[in-house]
């Protein structure tokens, strides 16, 4: 099967660079699957998991918090404010963040900070899900 290079880049440096046969990402308008040779596309991403299917059939997972995906026929780049590959996620930290965010969400039902608390809740949940592989 044809493969394509995938880069995941964050402001703190690149986190992933490998050849894969298919990328499945969650954009703001729904999930997209991208194979090698796709026409050039740009799409904003939602907070969610990116599935990276390798040529040998194995699948890797990465958690991204927003950003966007840039597709070219020979190369796919994902640029996100933060991103982690499943194996590098700090589960304890994510769980602590989840507890913190939950508390904040419950406290400030009608505050402007509510949206921010909700976003950090989503990010923490996403990290935990990706780490445990239940997508």
């Amino acid at each position: 099967m044809k493969t394509v290079t995938v880069n995941i880049v964050t402001p703190d440096g690149p986190v992933y660079d490998s050849e894969v046969s298919m990328v499945i990402a969650k954009t703001t308008s729904g999930e997209i699957g991208v194979l090698a040779g796709h026409i050039p596309t740009v799409a904003p991403l939602a907070i969610g998991a990116v599935k990276l299917k390798k040529a040998d059939g194995s699948t890797e997972l990465a958690a991204v918090s927003g950003g966007f995906i840039e597709v070219r026929p020979d190369k796919i780049s994902i640029l996100a404010p933060s991103a982690e590959v499943a194996s590098t996620i700090d589960l304890a930290r994510a769980k602590a963040a989840l507890a913190r965010a939950e508390e904040r969400v419950q406290k400030q039902k009608d505050n402007i900070d509510f949206k921010r608390a909700e976003l950090s809740l989503k990010r923490a949940l996403n990290r935990i899900n990706v780490h445990q592989g239940n997508i």
């Binding site: 402001p11 308008s29 997209i32 799409a43 904003p44 840039e70 780049s77 640029l79 404010p81």
Partner: protein
């Protein structure tokens, strides 16, 4: 006669100062290495985002996105990036002087501009002079991550969008080399000078170019600010390293001067003693 013990004391105190400045110099030089590395690992992200923004902005002319359009300037914001601590030579003072003179030139009253301060020295300077400081970040780590700066970057972009100010300028020290940095002024918002990327493929936009700009432009502006911060940190460490190196060199000079003085005084004391003994013996005969 110069007091021997006094000179000895001064030599010792200069020596201990030298130990401190020497240690700070070495700490700064290792921090500088890290900071340079951080700035380097950030380059791919910046390049990529610039490329995509350029491609989209050139593809969708006159999108009318608020971040791309200039509007009449009623209020200007200055984002000033300095350090938390001193002992970095002219690092903070050169940047503050530049901002102050720009403000004096451009504005007549304090209602025409606001300050966003990064670094304790910068914040204290503007607060003390009664400028309108609307946001500040202090106690940033020496190797800041994107998460540390996200708050102020997002605020800076948000306040532009909701009309708190109509222009955002950024002042920071650009890292030229380990011994040189220069004060740089950059207009961040509105984003009027995006270079259209040459020769890139024309993209399909999912769902639409406008929707992507909505996500991309704030991210782009935030990354500009983060880039400036990394640059500023690298020059802070290099400025501190240079300042401490000068201090150590000065201490060395001072020590050798004082040792010379000490030896002369000691010699003079011995000579005098001998003269006294000889004189005393001669008087007995």
């Amino acid at each position: 006669m110069v007091n021997l013990r006094e000179i000895k004391g001064r030599i010792n105190s200069t020596k201990s100062t030298k130990q401190i400045t020497k240690a700070m110099q070495m700490v700064s030089s290792s921090k500088l290495r890290r900071a340079e590395q951080n700035a380097k690992s950030y380059v791919p992200y910046m390049e990529k985002i610039q490329e995509v923004v350029g491609a989209i902005a050139s593809g969708t002319k006159d999108s009318g996105h608020p971040m791309l359009t200039s509007r009449p300037v009623k209020k200007t914001a200055y984002l000033v990036i300095g350090s938390d601590r001193g002992l970095a030579g002219a690092y903070n003072s050169s940047i503050l002087r530049e901002v102050q003179s720009t403000i004096n030139q451009r504005h007549k009253s304090k209602d025409e501009y606001v300050i966003l301060a990064v670094g304790r020295v910068v914040r204290d300077y503007f607060v003390k002079r009664d400028h309108n400081v609307i946001a500040d970040v202090v106690a940033l780590p020496d190797q800041p991550t994107f998460a540390d700066i996200k708050e102020i970057a997002r605020n800076a972009v948000g306040m532009f969008i909701d009309g708190t100010y109509d222009e955002l300028h950024m002042y920071y020290n650009h890292f030229v080399s380990a011994i040189a940095n220069e004060v740089t002024a950059k207009k961040v918002l509105p984003l009027t000078d995006i270079a259209p990327a040459a020769g890139t493929a024309s993209y399909e936009f999912e769902p639409s170019g406008e929707a992507i700009l909505e996500v991309l432009l704030p991210q782009y502006a935030e990354s500009l600010i983060y880039g400036a911060l990394l640059d500023g940190k690298a020059s802070e460490h290099s400025a501190r390293m240079t300042a401490m190196k000068n201090a150590t060199d000065n201490a060395n000079d001072r020590i050798s001067e004082l040792s010379l003085q000490y030896n002369r005084a000691r010699q003079a004391a011995i000579t005098q003693e001998i003269t006294e003994i000889v004189g005393g013996a001669a008087a007995l005969e």
